[in-house]
Amino acid sequence: MRYLLFVPLTLFVALAQVAAVPYFPLLGVTANPLLVLLMCWAIVRGPRETMVLIPVAGIFKDLITSDPVGASVLALLPVVPLAAIRERWPTESDFLPTLAVVAVASLCYYLLYMMVLTAVGDGPPWLQSPMRVILPAALFNALLTPIFYLPVRWATTLSEMVRPRMRVAG
């Protein structure tokens, strides 16, 4: 349950995504750091913890944007099954597969998000979106992955090193 201490971190990332990230576009799009953080979290620490973080962070983001509440939660859902699938095929290094999974998660995110927007009558142009938004955003998110992957990996390794000592001491 100690991971719940990181809920404020995910909320801060969601806030930064709305307040600051739109000012740093690349390839004409902005990144989705919340998605990247949750995907890295799910791969490094397992999908179980993200089952709690996704609804909390998704609802918070929707509350402070013009999106209908629940849109981001729906769009973030694929993070959990993607991490579960990734767990079944372990590789020597997690990093490169994480890049690929983040890119796939980005594609899923935008597809679901566009479906929600279309359903509520705010749909984007579907034909233009894949080349102009979805693929560049997936690439941008993949490029952003090391910024989140490495700290999550180090924090996890550190906590695993500390835990046995605490047990011995206790």
Binding site: N32, M51, L63, I64, V69, V73, Y113, A119, V133, A137
Partner: protein, 272 residues
């Protein structure tokens, strides 16, 4: 199995929340969240702004940046003035009854609002402002830049905040005209924040540098509100309509304050 149950439950809850959100039942919650988050957002924006400027102009120094900003503002103001003057000239000559419109907007009432956030989705061009229904803001109100060119329309109002759909939003359509030739068309937004003017009659004379302003057709916007300038014209002689790329007059990506035109009420036209 647990993943599947989680997906079903959370997915269902999200769908219910979307429906409630569309019905406006969660608006007080949104207003509360924005009230709490807006000071933090403002802080983050202020912190990010210098870095964003630096990345934008890695070779420029701070004074050049400031000078550029002032010059852009002056250009926008002067272009808006020219648009208003052109409109005044043409209208005075052709339609004396519209002369009142071009004398400026002395009777209009504006509300200054601060931009607190931008939609981060890449698929929408929206801004959040720190004024809402408690300040008299209503859906459909026109939003202008400080240089008095068109920024967008209020699309969602909460008690203390509102969302502005920019003219560059993919779902935005504004009836417009080219002031020099009086050619009518529809200015639409697109992904990546571009503007284009469609449905321009093939025989209309439109050239790069021409001024594009609102036409008041449809009753959603006041007449002769500056939108931008024609950057390029597309269309072959066999096409029914021409299309023009329009450069927005307002610097929409870096707006900090906007004006909400509270005295203009959009006309809701019904079929006869």
């Amino acid at each position: 199995m647990r993943t599947l149950v989680w997906l079903l439950v959370v997915g269902l809850v999200a769908l219910v929340a979307i429906v409630l959100s569309q019905l406006g039942a969660l608006d007080p919650l949104k207003n509360g969240a924005l009230t709490v988050a807006s000071p933090l957002e403002r802080g983050l924006r202020s912190a990010a702004s210098p870095a964003a400027d630096f990345l934008d102009n890695t070779t420029n120094r701070q004074d050049l940046e400031e000078e550029n900003r002032l010059l852009r503002q002056q250009i926008e103001e002067l272009t808006a003035e020219i648009a208003s003057l052109k409109e005044s000239q043409l209208t005075a000559a052709d339609l004396a009854g519209l002369a009142e419109v071009e004398k400026g907007r002395p009777d209009d009432r504006f509300l200054v609002a601060r931009v607190i956030a931008r939609d981060p989705s890449n698929l929408k061009e929206r801004l959040a402002i720190d004024r809402g229904s408690s300040d008299g803001v209503a859906e459909g109100m026109v939003v202008m830049s400080q240089g008095q060119s068109l920024v967008g329309v209020i699309s969602k109002v909460l008690d203390d905040f509102a969302w502005v759909t920019l003219i560059t939003d993919p779902n935005s359509n504004v009836n417009a005209m080219v002031l020099e030739s009086r050619a009518q068309g529809v200015v639409s937004g697109s992904l990546h924040g571009g503007l284009s003017m469609d449905l321009i009659p093939q025989d209309a004379k439109v050239e790069p540098g021409n001024t594009v302003a609102t036409s008041s057709l449809g009753g959603n916007f006041p007449q002769a509100l500056l939108i931008g300038q024609v950057a390029a014209v597309q269309g072959e002689s066999q096409d029914v309509f021409k299309k023009a790329e329009v450069e927005p007059a307002a610097s929409l990506s870096r707006l900090e304050n906007v004006l909400v035109l509270t005295s203009f009420v959009a006309t809701r036209l019904t079929s006869p």
